[in-house]
Structure formats: C-alpha cells, structure tokens
C-alpha cells in the first residue's frame, strides 16, 4: 500500500524532472501549442498543429535562424487538450513552468476562457497566439499584454462578418435563419451576428442543436416554415456536409451563408444548391496555381506528413499556424532577442508579414489579414471576392 503511493509520488516527481530537463538547452526557442487534436472538436486545432509543424521542420532543416550572432533552432511542444478546459489548464501551467515564451492556440472559446486567469498571472513572461473568438473581448485589458488574437474579427468596421452581411444585403436578403451548434462558440456567434443582422435591417431566426446531431430534418423543417431567404449554418465541416445535403435533398432550402467552414459541402452538392456564400481565409485549390508560396507549402506538407493535402481544412491555417511561426521568427530577428517578449510583441505589431497570407496586427494585437469571400452558384461556378483589410 505505502509502496504504491510512494511509487506514484516518485513517478510524479520523476516526470517533473523530465519536464525540467528539456528547458536547459540554450540555442533552442520553444514554441508551445495547445489545441484539441482528438475528440469531437478536433478539426480546428488539428490543422493548425500540422501547419506549425511544417514551419518548424522547414526552419530547422535550413539550420535554424539567426538572431544577433547566434543561431537558434525551434522546438515544438504540442499538447492535446481534447477540447477539455481542465486538461488545458494543467498543460498550460506546465508550459509556463517550462518557460515557453510563445504559446500557439487555443482556437476553442471554452479552452481560452479556462486558461485566461492563469495566463494573466504570467503576464509579461510569454506571448499567446490565440484564435478563439472569446479572446477578442480580452484584448487590451489590463494584465493581457501577452495576448495576440490570430483570427480576423467578425464584427467591427472592417470585420469580415460585417463585410459579409453587407454582401448579403446587396443580394436583397430580408430574413436569415441561423442553425448553430449549442456550444461556447455557437453562442458567441449568435451574439455577434444577431447584432450585425440587426444593424443591417435583416430579420433573424435562430435554432440551436446539440453537438453530435446528425439528422437536422426537424430543425430544418421548422426553420423552413418561417420562409427565410437564406440559411446560416455552423460551424464544423461535418455538420455542414449534413445540413447542406439534408436541406437541399428534402427541399428545405438551397441558399447558404457561412462564416466558419469550407466550401466542400457546396461543391459536393453543386447541382442542388442555388447560392453558397462562405468566408474562406484562402481558397487553396486556386491559390495553389497562382501563388508559389502556397504551392511550396502544399509540397512541404505532403513530404512531411506523407498524405494528401487537406484542401478543405487548409484555410484554418490562417490562425496560429504556419505563417505565424515565420512571422514570429522575423519579429524576433527585428527585435534582436528571443526572450524579451515585450520587444517581440512590439516588433510584431509594427510589421506586415507576407506569407501564405499578408498578415499584420492592429494596435490591440488582433490579426488583420486578407481573405476571400467565395460565392458558389448552382452547377459549381465559383466567384471569388478578395478583401485585403491590411491595406487600410
């Protein structure tokens, strides 16, 4: 009996020592990443985690990077939160103890909310590149100098959500039906877009569904009874495939509008849809042909992971991913330091990075980057409208 407890304690202490050890090497810059890599909400973190890995391997394969007269390599520590806030709080504490100065993620709103208080206690010691929607409200608050938000903000004067709602208005939309997953992001999205639609004078119907729902017939039939002009479903690809199919197949509606998710569902049902308007940070299928950087990234990805490139998920690389590693390295070089996070933050806010995306941060630390609004029409004709808010 006493043996087991001692063994357990010894195990815990030993693992503590192990964690401590990795911190010692001096020519290594550590990047931590906490995202859900498995579990029901894994899609988002999974793509980001692969993008950062590609960037880190590329940089290290070239022998690292120079800051001042010293050469550094990158070390990537990826943690799988499974989307569980409690796991994330322990993992995040561990990163802080390991003196990780740069943490990528989380994308999930509930995970960000959970680690925020611990992050505040470590303010000044590190930078957090979070994609979470809820991180927007924390920007610029006291004790939040660590926070950078890596996704375009939906609302605001140049927010992509607002631009998209304006686009809908141009199409003479009077009534929108929102069908969202009832989770932390779903609720946030409903709050944001209720305001945007109200300002645009568009009527809104809202229906929420339990995560894990596969059959949307009842919700769709009910929404269709209100005769909306367009359906606004969200937010994961799996859900979108099901909603678009069931809605068109049973005649509940064939016009869609979405702000998270790929255009895969539209192309799959291209003859059944009328309109499918989506916010896509980048349309990789066409960018691959015209942009050498995109092509190089895709090749690198295939070489490292030895599998097909996930075109559907790739637009998620716009958050805390491939570009952001390179941008961080450039900022470290500009600031001339790898551990003075205040200087590095200042360098990040003063630069524009030109990678897969053209990215800069506004003065609160929120990313602004160019994106596409893609309008798929019946038959699969694709019309791309490019926005570049970095110019403004």
């Amino acid at each position: 009996m006493s043996g087991s407890k001692r063994a357990l304690l010894a195990g815990i202490v030993a693992s503590g020592l192990l964690w401590g050890q990795a911190a010692r090497a001096e020519d290594v810059v550590k990047i931590g990443q906490i995202e859900a890599l498995t579990g029901a909400t894994a899609t988002y973190g999974w793509m980001s985690a692969q993008g950062t890995k590609v960037a880190v391997e590329e940089i290290n394969a070239k022998g690292g990077f120079k800051v001042g007269d010293k050469t550094y390599k990158l070390e990537l520590l990826q943690m799988d939160t499974r989307g569980e806030p409690r796991e994330a709080t322990v993992q995040f504490r561990k990163m802080m103890e390991d003196k990780v100065h740069f943490v990528f993620g989380p994308f999930l709103t509930n995970v960000f909310n959970a680690i925020e208080p611990i992050a505040n206690q470590n303010n000044g010691k590190f930078l957090l590149f979070a994609g979470a929607t809820s991180a927007h409200n924390a920007l610029g608050k006291p004790d939040h100098d660590y926070l950078l938000r890596t996704w375009n903000w939906d609302a605001g004067s140049v927010g992509f959500g607002k631009l998209m709602v304006d686009y809908l208005k141009k199409l003479h939309t009077k009534k929108v039906a929102m069908l969202f997953q009832n989770d932390a992001f779903g609720k946030t999205a409903v709050d944001i877009y209720s305001g945007l639609f109200k300002d645009a004078g568009i009527e809104l119907q809202v229906e929420l569904f339990e995560p894990g729902t596969k059959d949307f017939s009842a919700s769709l039939a009910k929404l269709a009874a209100g005769k909306p002009d367009i359906l606004f479903p969200g937010y994961s690809d799996a859900v979108l495939y099901d909603i678009v199919r069931q809605s068109t197949e049973s005649g509940f509606g064939n016009r869609f509008f979405l702000v998270r998710g790929s255009i895969g569902p539209a192309l799959k049902n291209k003859d059944a849809i009328q309109d499918y308007i989506a916010y896509v940070p980048k349309y990789f299928e066409s960018a691959e042909k015209t942009e050498p950087k995109v092509k190089a990234f895709i090749e690198s990805y295939k070489k490292i992971f030895k599998r097909d490139f996930p075109y559907d998920q790739a637009p998620l690389c716009s958050s805390s991913c491939y570009d952001h590693v390179y941008m961080l390295v450039e900022a470290m070089q500009k600031a001339g330091t790898v551990d003075d996070v205040a200087k590095i933050r200042a360098a990040l806010l003063n630069m524009t990075y030109d990678g897969l995306w053209k990215i800069k941060y506004d003065k609160t630390g929120e990313a602004v980057f160019g994106f596409d609004v893609i309008h798929v029409r019946k038959g699969g004709a694709i019309e791309t409208v490019q926005y570049d808010p970095t110019k403004e």
């Binding site: 043996g3 407890k5 322990v90 561990k94």
Partner: protein
C-alpha cells in the same frame, strides 16, 4: 493497512515542501477532488451495489449553485455551500425515491439516473439567463478563511493543495464512519442480497436512499470547491464521460475498499499528463490500460497489493 494510509497521508502533507511545480500541484489538486468524488461514489456503488450515473449531476448542480450565489448574488463562498448541498440533497432524494420505489435493478437504475443527469445538463446548458448557457460562468473570486491575523484568500496552488487534501480527508472519514456503523452493515446486506435484507427486517428502500443521498451530497461538496479552483463552471461538468471516469477510478483502485478509489483517482488523473506521446497514441494507451486493469487486475490496485502481501 491503517499504517500505510497514515504514511501516505504524511507524504502528501510534506509533498509541497519538496515539489514546487505549479502544474504538478494542479494535478494533485484535481486528483484529490477526483478522489473525493470517487470515494463518495463508492459508497453508493461499491458498498451499496447501486450503479449511479447521477454523480456528475450532483457535482455539477452544486458547482453551479455555489458559483451563481457568489457571482450574481454576492454571497460568501462558505455560506453558499449550504444551499448548494440542500439542493443536491433534494434532487437526490427525488431521483432516489423514484428509482428505489420502483425497484429498478442494476442497469435500469444506471440508465434512469443517467437520464435524469442528462436532463439536468440540458437545462443548465439552455437556461441562458441564469447559467450563461454553453459559455459557462467564469469565477474570479477565491474563497478566503479567517485567521487571527486577518482573512486569507485561498488562491495559491499550495493553499488549494491543502484545502482539497482536507476535503478528501473529510469525505474519507465521513464514509469510513458510515461504513463502520450499523448503517454500513445494513448496506452490505443490501449489496449482497436485498431480498434477504428485507426478510432480516432491514428497510431496504430507506437505506438505499440514505446511501444515495449521502454519496450525492458529498459529490456536491466537491463540486462547490471545484469551480472555484478551476476558475469556471460549464455544462460539461454534467457530462456522461465524467460519470464513466469516476467508475473507472473506483474499479482501477479497487471496488471493495475505501482507499482503492483514492489510488485509482490519483493514478487516472496523473496518467494523461505523464504519458508523453502523440495525441492518437495517448488515447490508445489510455484505453489499453483501462482494459488491461479490468481483465488482469479484477480487484484493482489495492487487490493486487494486498494479495502480493499475503503471498510474501
């Protein structure tokens, strides 16, 4: 056995002097709370033979009641625990009365308690004006205790460590007292054969209900602290996986003992953080360990240790 537990407790008491890592303390704190949950669950499951899936709900309801009273109504934390436990007691008495009156057997009992638990989760998830729905409630306040030199906020890892250790000791002692008393003997009789218990003149309904209510209230006690340590409450607190985790902890440690669930809970809480593998391999290994333990160590870790001792 008693001696071994005392040594373990002593080690736990001095551990923070040696271990300064915040994340290891966090694992220990979550471990102590999980252990308290597992011990209280085992009162219902291991010692009364009722597979309750209501434990996560008791835990969650109490966490929400305390949090709402403190954040919205500005109650004192310690005072808010009382109504939270009363709410849990009432709910468990209602659910218990329904299930035991209708004499639902093993698996039926598990599914019906799970159904009640799910309904409570859905109410919490959708009652936006009170619970803030899926976003949950962030808890910034920390409970404080009064000392001769003024009030002292429990905010550091070490103070939470001792608070949750004390919680575990209290829950453990309560369960130990109950089982050592005449109630414990009635529960044992019910577990072995409730019809026989009835013929012996034991009010089976009353004692099942008593065990269910006490176990649930103790889970509520843990819930009250949990939200304040983690800094947030959210509807996931009620989730079915949490209920299954508790069962796994009890079985891993050893179902026929009081200390077994404590060991099982500490091991299962620490395990995911000790395994440093890729995400897929980690969950595969976790599942394999669970299967291995159930098939190879049917009496759990405690059973393995005690049988070794006898052999030696």
């Amino acid at each position: 056995m008693k001696y071994a537990i005392a040594v373990g407790l002593l080690l736990a008491l001095v551990a923070p002097a040696v271990v300064h890592s915040d994340s290891i303390l966090a694992i220990a704190i979550y471990g102590f709370m999980a252990a308290s949950l597992a011990v209280s669950f085992n009162l219902i499951f291991g010692f009364t033979g009722q597979l309750s899936m209501f434990h996560a709900a008791s835990f969650g309801v109490s966490a929400y009641v305390v949090t709402i009273l403190v954040t919205t109504f500005k109650w004192n934390f310690w005072l808010a625990i009382i109504p939270a436990l009363v709410v849990v007691m009432i709910l468990s008495l209602i659910v218990g009365t329904i299930c035991f009156r209708f004499k639902l057997k093993e698996f039926y009992f598990a599914v019906v308690t799970m159904a009640f638990s799910e309904v409570l989760r859905l109410i919490t998830l959708n009652w936006n004006s009170v619970t803030n729905g899926s976003l949950g409630i962030t808890v910034v306040d920390k409970p404080s205790i009064w000392t001769p030199s003024g009030s002292f906020a429990i905010s550091s890892g070490v103070s939470w460590y001792y608070l949750t250790l004390a919680l575990l000791v209290i829950v453990y002692i309560i369960c130990h007292r109950i089982l050592a008393s005449w109630i414990g003997r009635c529960l044992a009789a019910i577990r072995l054969n409730d019809q026989l218990g009835e013929t012996l003149g034991i009010d089976v309904f009353k004692y099942k209900l008593l065990s269910f209510a006490i176990g649930s209230v103790l889970a509520g006690l843990v819930g009250a602290f949990y939200g304040f340590y983690s800094g947030f409450v959210e509807p996931h607190y009620f989730s079915i996986p949490l209920g299954l985790d508790i069962i796994a902890m009890v079985l891993l440690g050893g179902v026929n003992s009081l200390i077994g669930p404590v060991i099982g809970a500490l091991v299962l809480t620490a395990l995911p953080h000790v395994i440093e593998l890729s995400a897929e391999l980690r969950i595969a290994l976790y599942g394999s360990i669970l299967i291995f333990v159930i098939l190879v160590m049917p009496k759990g870790i405690v059973g393995l240790l005690t049988s070794r001792k006898h052999a030696a």
